[in-house]
């Protein structure tokens, strides 16, 4: 049985690699992950950027490097050019007595104030070691917006697994090959598992690669895989239903895209609804999956919560699966 399932899986992978639509579906999450990484570095960057002269006192530059990102320039002309670039950079230039802070003028107040305060502390000779303040951190190293974007990408990737299955089923229908498989010893359940493996493994692979690209190395991978695999059940059901109901690839892709609406609705509901209204989204497995992934990506997840969310995804997905099963079986006969 396993050998046959892997044969279906291998055939689907081989066919997908020769189908431009399937390749697009496989590559898209990775491209999106790269895009998130490229367009969100500023979200991570909460440090003030400073421009200083190379001729300045080296101890001044070293002091500032402890608290800000410092770029050093040879002359005042280069400093002015740097300050006038699009991003927020403040320059500190030594005068005969004291310092001059050069700004473009449109920097946030925080940049100006921070620069003035930092330079004052240097002039006063204050060091970090002298402070009586103690630190307490929740350990959130990634900005919430980036986590939200990556979580949305995971939800989308899960649904793309369904789209991949739908495209594969449409291909089988176009080639009229389902009947040919039905007269082999491969059971219908074996056929379904083989096809689901293709969508599932591609999606899980894409999710893992996307998380690595976006820098989420030290999350709890067991939790991510558990939530991902559970969410995939619904994607499989949607994929088979839409594939069997569609006559061509474009129709299948369009139908599966419609399912992205409840996904988006669940995410918006989770992010925007007040706590007292969150229950209105409990029907959606996407809601629970999004919630669980958010906790894992934010490193705030504990096993009981993740298991609760995963359990809800599983129950709701299985309910849809059993409702859809007769239709899937009939379609594959």
């Amino acid at each position: 049985m396993l050998r046959k399932i892997f044969s279906v899986f291998g055939r689907d992978i081989r066919t997908s690699m020769r189908d431009s639509m399937a390749i697009f579906i496989i590559v898209m999450p990775v491209v999106m992950a790269v895009a998130i990484t490229l367009f969100t570095p500023g979200l991570n960057d909460t440090t003030v950027n400073l421009a200083m002269l190379r001729s300045d006192d080296p101890s001044h530059i070293t002091y500032m490097e402890q608290f800000a990102k410092v770029e050093v320039f040879d002359n005042i002309g280069d400093i002015e050019k740097r300050v006038n670039k699009r991003d927020a950079v403040a320059a500190i230039v030594p005068l005969e007595s004291g310092y001059e802070i050069i700004l473009q003028g449109n920097e946030p107040d925080m940049v100006e104030n921070y620069t003035v305060m930092l330079n004052s502390l240097y002039e006063l000779g204050t060091t970090k070691e002298e402070t009586t303040t103690t630190m307490m951190s929740f350990g959130h190293t990634v900005p919430p917006l980036k986590t939200m974007l990556v979580n949305m990408l995971i939800s989308m990737t899960v649904m793309l697994a369904g789209m991949l299955i739908a495209v594969s089923i449409v291909g089988e229908k176009a080639d009229n090959t389902i009947n040919a498989v039905n007269v082999t010893p491969l059971s219908q359940i074996g056929f379904v598992i083989g096809k689901s493996m293709m969508g599932g493994l591609v999606a899980m692979g894409s999710i893992i690669v996307s998380l690595l690209i976006t820098g989420y190395y030290d999350i709890n991978w067991f939790m991510i895989v558990l939530v991902g695999l559970t969410s995939l059940i619904l994607a499989f059901v949607v994929g088979f239903l839409q594939g069997l109901a569609s006559d061509d690839v474009i129709e299948a892709a369009g139908n599966v895209k419609m399912i992205l609406l409840p996904v988006a609705g669940s995410i918006i509901g989770y992010e925007l609804l007040a706590d007292k209204w969150q229950w209105t989204m409990y029907w959606s497995p996407f809601y629970w999956a999004y919630k669980a992934n958010l906790l894992v990506l934010s490193k705030q997840a504990d096993w009981p919560t993740v298991l609760l969310c995963t359990g809800m995804v599983l129950i709701l997905s299985l309910a849809v699966y059993f409702l859809a099963l007769p239709k899937i079986r009939k379609g594959l006969s």
Partner: protein, 284 residues
């Protein structure tokens, strides 16, 4: 090898029957032709026998398995060649056969050997999507032999093929039959059936009208005919006369004695003519 008793099937689940209470048996090693026009119930019957259609009424045993029960392992003994070619267009000819070979639990034939057998040598690495209709049909036919089937279902195996390739396919079917393969041949081509089948069944409107060997049918229903072309007053005259009719026999004598004979051929009634005689319907 096949036993069908009182099989009926309705697509609309009512009394409008596509197959109406048919019964027949196919013995091991036999080539059995299931003949009838489009819509007669041939494909419905084959669909039930191959498990592609759910059996509703009657009792069907195929290769020792009751078709009412889902037993996928029975397909290890069965090969099915469809009328509509159905191969993966994005896989090459060889990849197609290799994939199907992996789905069986019994020793399978070498894909390259099968490709050569159906005249597709040199096309092993060509994707089936680039094949002509006839080439796809041959690949579908080759695939049906991948598991060395004991029971072989062939649905219009030579349709759409040029005469040379059709002859090759017929030779393969004869060779398989000689090796003991039981063949269930569904066709509306009476010449193929006449040439290949040990016995034939005529089905029309879901009812089997008769089952017999082509020879017996010809003896029972056929009339030996003579086609004569002769010259009369400078014109070529053509007549077809029955050898069992006294009047026609006298007429043959007259023509032979009095005219210049151009051609004279004896001719047997074809299965098609017998089918029309028995069922009152053509095979279109």
């Amino acid at each position: 090898m096949i036993s069908v008793k009182n099989l009926s099937h309705s697509y609309s689940n009512d009394e409008k029957l596509a197959v109406n209470n048919i019964s027949f048996e196919v013995t091991k090693g036999e080539t059995f032709g299931f003949l009838g026009p489009s819509g007669a119930g041939k494909s419905t019957t084959q669909g039930i026998l191959t498990g592609l259609l759910k059996q509703q009424r009657g009792e069907v045993i195929v290769a020792g398995y009751n078709t009412m029960k889902v037993q996928n392992e029975r397909f290890n003994k069965i090969g099915v060649s469809f009328e509509q070619s159905n191969v993966y267009s994005k896989l090459t000819a060889k990849e197609n056969l290799e994939f199907y070979a992996k789905l069986f639990d019994v020793p399978t034939r070498d894909p390259e050997e099968l490709i050569r057998l159906v005249g597709l040598e040199g096309k092993e690495k060509v994707r089936a999507g680039e094949f002509s209709k006839g080439m796809k049909h041959r690949l579908t036919f080759a695939r049906s032999m991948i598991n060395n089937p004991e029971l072989w279902f062939l649905d219009e195996p030579t349709t759409g093929l040029d005469p040379t390739i059709a002859a090759t396919i017929k030779d393969i079917i004869k060779e398989q039959a000689a090796q003991g393969t039981t063949t269930f041949l569904t066709t509306h081509n009476m010449y193929i059936a006449d040439e290949l089948c040990d016995r034939v069944a005529f089905i029309i409107d879901g009812v089997i009208k008769l089952i017999d060997t082509p020879r017996n049918l010809k003896l029972q229903y056929g009339q030996k005919l003579i086609d004569i072309e002769y010259i009369n007053n400078g014109k070529v005259i053509k007549e077809t006369l029955k050898t069992i009719d006294d009047h026609d026999r006298k007429r043959i004598g007259e023509i032979v004695n009095n005219y210049d004979i151009q051609t004279m051929h004896s001719k047997e009634a074809t299965l098609e003519e017998i089918f029309i005689q028995v069922t009152g319907r053509g095979l279109v």
